[in-house]
Amino acid sequence: MSERPVVEIRGVTKTFARGNVTALENIELELHPGEFVSLIGPSGCGKSTLLRVVGDLTPPTSGTVTINGKPARQAREDGDYGIVFQDSVLFDWRTVAKNIALPLEMLGWDREKRKARTEEMLDLVELRNFADHHPWQLSGGMQQRVSIARALSFEPALLLMDEPFGALDEMTRERLNLELLSIWEKLGSTVVFVTHSISEAVFLSTRVVVMSPRPGRIAGMVPIDLPFPRTVETREDPRFFELVTQVRELLRKRGEHLLPEEAAELL
């Protein structure tokens, strides 16, 4: 752990002027190369806000974010991270291949290079036969795979994922969890993954960061020591259940002041 962290979050506080809400309070977090870190917590705990601060999509009220040793803004402008939202946000007027190539166009890659990389990415997410389809011809899960391929196309060191599988059905979600892990193992990128599913967080991560709301704080960390590669059987491993329970306990302890429906969403 002596190498330079990919992400350093130092004393980040975020208050929204409207309603005087403290979304994040004094967050301290470091991510090391190759880590897969999930942020979990009830709605309103600021986990998505934290991700947006890391991506320089919203500025922190105070504190600093450093990515690859650079301020977050510089990192965004240098294309240091790829992002996947809950909705795939694909451009309807572009084919699957052209959607994946979008960031490459923005980076000014020439046509040949774009084509070669796009084909690699299509293979990676197993959508080669759908290259010339339009997004609206694909299922939700396939759309999200295109979105992941787009985020990874320019090989960013960091991948930010904001509840990427939140809108998908359970079966699709579990299949995409496995696919995401195999891609992550292949590419070795660092991942920040926002979710409100405990089992998803435990299954995917090397570390789970539990957050509590009002104000958004880090309530605790759970290192996940499940062996890789993780498979369908991992979910039946007794250790998996222990870790799920551990995360749930942390959420519950910090969640005593939660509204009942927020608690219900988590437990």
Binding site: L57, Y81, F85, D87, V89, W93, M106, W136
Partner: protein, 276 residues
């Protein structure tokens, strides 16, 4: 093919209703809301026959005459449409980037459309005609008048369409540190196209109407506008000639509309509405 058959069937039914109405009103002797006779409602067959006859001795047939006039008016309308669409689109792009300009200019753009085109047309002729090279004299000014009708819906819908880009897509572009220019061409403009084409369909028919009306104060005799004024004067003797002219004018408008719809099908790749 089925589509064409349907269109033909509708035309036949409408023609049938026209003749049925004539027959009922003349045989019953009804005079409300107007007296039906060969002047107020000529037979369809009379109108169709008129196409094949010369309007004056030793002159070309009416259809021949009208097609030439339609070509003349069509040229004005095409240029007016292109001019209006271009101006409207650029205006939309400029306005979407500045709240201030939008607030300042939009009311005047709206106001411009409340001024009747018949009042604007003579001024345009006086202002524009002297500046035009000889090849454009006369009809060029009419094209400008037509563009006055077409730019407006295009401006309004371009503005709306450019603002319709998904906020998350804009955010995605931000993560790529995309320039304003890239955001415009890769996101805002493609997202605006369904709106722009909706406006272009309006503009297509409006440009034909604008061209016809524009010919009136210009005193041009070579187009459909001139023909309408002319045949209007002889309506009580030869009503079928004005009706024939109307049919050609409508056909020209429909042709324009169909061209825009065809272009839209080629350009806009979008989910079918019901597929969400």
């Amino acid at each position: 093919m089925r589509r064409a058959g349907l269109v033909a069937a509708v035309v036949l039914v409408l023609a049938g209703l026209w003749e049925l109405y004539r027959w009922i009103w003349t045989s019953a002797g009804w005079t409300w809301p107007f007296v039906v006779d060969n002047t107020s409602m000529p037979h369809i067959s009379t109108i169709l026959k008129a196409f094949g006859q010369p309007t004056q001795v030793n002159q070309p047939t009416l259809i021949n005459l009208l097609l030439h006039k339609a070509l003349f008016t069509g040229r004005e309308a095409v240029v007016g449409f292109a001019l209006g669409a271009a101006v409207g689109f650029l205006l939309g792009i400029v306005l979407v980037h500045s709240r201030l300009l939008q607030r300042g200019f939009l009311p005047y753009i709206v106001a411009s459309q409340t001024v009747p085109i018949l009042a604007v047309a003579p001024m345009v002729v006086v202002w524009v005609n002297p500046k035009l090279p000889t090849g454009l004299q006369g009809w060029g000014a009419v094209a400008v008048i037509a563009s006055y009708l077409t730019f407006f819906p295009v401006t309004i819908n371009t503005l709306r369409g450019l603002s319709s880009a998904d906020p998350r897509a804009l955010e995605l572009m931000r993560t790529y540190a995309a320039s304003r220019w890239s955001v415009l061409w890769k996101l805002r403009v493609p997202a605006s196209l369904p709106y722009v084409f909706a406006a272009l369909k309006l503009a297509a028919t409006a440009s034909v109407v604008g061209a016809i009306i524009g010919e009136l104060p210009s005193g041009l005799q070579s187009g459909l506008g001139g023909a309408i004024i002319n045949f209007n004067q002889y309506y009580s003797f030869e009503p079928q000639e004005l009706w024939a002219t109307n049919i050609v004018a409508a056909a020209l408008g429909i042709l324009f509309f169909v061209c825009v719809v065809g272009t839209e099908k080629l350009v806009v790749r979008r989910a079918p509405e019901n597929a969400g």
